[in-house]
Subunit: 259 residues, 2 copies
């Protein structure tokens, strides 16, 4: 196997939708240590740790000899209650960052979310989702979460900023849009504007693991005609080259812009 790092990459929340997209795209390009609180349903292709992200000892052990961490674990529900996002997402991210620091891991890629900035849409929808609207968020704006889940993701970004500034950790937060397998959301302008195809997702995480940067907050969407998130920073700082566009979905079984 040709790996792009000498050491394994720890992937937390590996069994979720984003984790599966990453493994589907770049599963063969790295040596992975998968981490999820649920045991795998099939025989896994990679080392697999079954533990909860709030289990400090388990997280520390899992991070002990890896080259980087892709941290996806957490309560993924936009409607998740505060107690859950406080514990799983905010405290869980702190646990991962602390484990990285203790183990000398110098790079963490964090799954942030469009919900961290959801309330920028409040006054402008649905114009914002139209391809002729040129409003863009670029990652330098302050968070305006659309829910408490989004608050927790914004807090994770800020924790990463602290670990970068204080401890030199390379940290990328990817504000993931709407990852759907197979095709973009149908008849849903917002979903099309923030669509992230599985292969673009895997490629973007690959760039987060490979590029030379310090601290970045980028948007994780495909190169959709409709968009209100700028891809400039992902392209310029990370070398992201998206291949998909929700507008090129022709209603048939595959993307017209397919590989």
């Amino acid at each position: 196997m040709t790996t792009r790092m000498d050491e394994p990459v720890l992937l937390t929340g590996a069994s979720g939708r984003v984790g599966q997209a990453i493994l589907g795209g770049i599963g063969d390009d790295y040596t992975w240590r998968l981490f999820d609180r649920e045991p795998p349903t099939d025989d896994p292709d990679h080392e697999f740790v079954v533990a909860d992200i709030t289990d400090e000892t388990a997280v520390r052990e899992a991070a002990s000899d890896v080259g980087a961490i892709v941290h996806l674990a957490g309560d993924p529900r936009p409607e998740a209650p505060w107690e859950s996002v406080l514990r799983n997402n905010i405290d869980g991210t702190r646990t991962v960052l602390d484990a990285a620091l203790a183990a000398g891991v110098d790079r963490v890629v964090f799954a942030s979310s469009n919900h961290a900035v959801g309330h920028y849409e409040t006054d402008r929808k649905p114009d914002l989702y139209r391809s002729d609207d040129d409003f863009r968020l670029d990652g330098t704006e302050r968070p305006r979460p659309g829910n408490l889940y989004g608050v927790s993701k914004a807090a994770g970004e800020t924790l990463g900023r602290y670990y970068h500034d204080e401890h030199g950790l390379t940290f990328a937060a990817v504000r993931i849009g709407n990852l759907t397998a197979g095709h973009p959301p149908i008849d849903y302008e917002r979903g099309q504007a923030m669509w992230l195809s599985p292969r673009d997702c895997a490629h973007l995480i690959d760039r987060c693991l490979s590029a030379d940067y310090d601290y970045e907050v980028v948007y994780g969407i495909s190169d959709n005609d409709r968009k209100y998130y700028s891809l400039a920073r992902a392209k310029d700082a990370l070398g992201y080259e998206p291949r998909d566009n929700s507008a090129e979905w022709d209603g048939d079984e595959k993307l017209s812009g397919g590989s």
Copy 2:
């Protein structure tokens, strides 16, 4: 007593340094309900609730019939451990905001901190503290906390943003500088740059309680010659008119610019 609101103002963390500065300056201008986890050492001049900020029932009861909340309670130590700021500062602020929502309180003033942006100083100190340096933070920048306490304050600001956007709460976060009684820090450039005199502190909170605004993040410092925090937003949006300046401290017993 002439009060500026028909209903009392709940002041959490009332016994701390900022709380005492507020009461010293505008204690007679509002009807206060003081809240602190420590019983008052002297006979208090105002209604006093002894409870912990993490006690949801006590906070809800305290917020039940007030017109506004000034939320200062939390672990104030820059070196506070994560577990403490997670519980007292992040979860505690959520508890206060939730209590405000439940009680129909439409305004919360939050004591944020210079530590929420402490790492902007990393590469530029001590130049930043000099009166001939024109670098300014203005409150629109993303947080760069200098410690986990600062992370918790940034999270409180974001929680406030969510409650504003989602629920219409009027919310002001004041990134408080260095509040010292009597005189500015001596032989400490940074402290002089972020000095906030007690009377300017009280006046600024008064403006946060009285002005007409939506969501604001402002810096809470006096009008110091040395500064790297802009006062533009506090002046423009809130009508803040600071009277003190750390450079006018003449080494004598009172400020040369005193009232």
